[in-house]
Point group: C2
Chain length 231, copies 2
Amino acid sequence: MRLVVARCSVDYAGRLTAHLPLATRLLMVKADGSVLVHSDGGSYKPLNWMSPPCTLLTAPAEGTAAEAGAVETWRVASTKTDDVLVVSVHEVLSDSSVDLGVDPGLVKDGVEAHLQRLLAEQIEHLGSGYALVRREHPTAIGPVDILCRDASGGSVAVEIKRRGDIDGVEQLTRYLELMNRDPHLAPVAGVFAAQEIRPQARTLATDRGIRCVVLDYEAMRGVDDPTTRLF
Amino acid sequence: MRLVVARCSVDYAGRLTAHLPLATRLLMVKADGSVLVHSDGGSYKPLNWMSPPCTLLTAPAEGTAAEAGAVETWRVASTKTDDVLVVSVHEVLSDSSVDLGVDPGLVKDGVEAHLQRLLAEQIEHLGSGYALVRREHPTAIGPVDILCRDASGGSVAVEIKRRGDIDGVEQLTRYLELMNRDPHLAPVAGVFAAQEIRPQARTLATDRGIRCVVLDYEAMRGVDDPTTRLF
DNA sequence: GCGTTGATGTCGGGA
DNA sequence: TCCCGACGTCAACGC
């Protein structure tokens, strides 16, 4: 990784066009050639950047850039699209490189995928006699998180969220509408399962005949067989 | 801005739990106290971070962290939520600070707002005889991007996206439901206009009687009268 | 301050 | 590889 602090202006052309006036910024060049332009505020998002795969070419400034006071021009071009980032470097305040090696990567816990896996393994949380049919059941408008059958053999579509919001109820409603048009599947009941269900979402779901189930992630994880865990 | 290259491990607890094993990384501390943990790959998103407003406390490592070889512990806590980021620094390879000042900020072109302005000016892209009524037509649940009339005088609500996705179709559907309840306006037809329309979004739109129109931004911009441009 | 919407979104998973 | 939905989404704008 190369870290350059420099007074510079930046232009991006690609999916949109963007310009950064002359100011002092941090230029981060990663090992894969990607470039990040950071200011001393904002959030974790750079002011401007080029994602890998891309190539970085540096050359002495020429033409209008040189006339404006630039000493060096960086041209970062995406190798997949015609996106291009041009950095006009006016003054380098510091320039250092360091070898970081390959990062072992992030280990996450508590996301929706785990909830889905746990509920699929412990489908009895929905009620006695429930049986899993499949996860990610495909439909024309997207996959249903879990398809299962209740004690009487009726089809049940389950939408899982960490936080149950109105959006999730809308999503499940779309699936149910579509699936209930399929004579092989209909009638399909709906279950909205989440660690936490917002009052508005619960109201909407209930109004549409969708059952709400609150999941206890910690308890479900406790029951979970550690040999089948992702980590 | 402070830039520290260090061998470290990182733990985050908040909306999820995440852990980064010991490795060499860049720690970026911005003027507002926010912290970014970058590796030498990935994209512009850090491996882990804490957004402002937050506070950073550094102290000599203690307990299990010290036993594991850490010399210093950074505790970055959000001042609004109970999110916390803990960096266990094992070895500092470099540590430097620089004053960047305030950034003048980014100037953009080519976002949805521009697409909307162009389509309003060139409403004939929807078909012969179309006439603009107004942009950002207000409804109780939000503004409709464009309201216009077709050749026969019927009302048409247009939702514009750069990328047409299911969300956009849902959004337009909500507007149409509401507007069609208004006897002064009904019947209102729907048009989903985007630079690119995803197959599932097209399927859903078509199923709901919403017409899809693909927009060519470059061509529309070419026709654009530069004297009316925003910049 | 809350809610809604857009984003050069980015990221990960399944087909 | 493409397609699609989640995200510690974030950030801007309107009410």
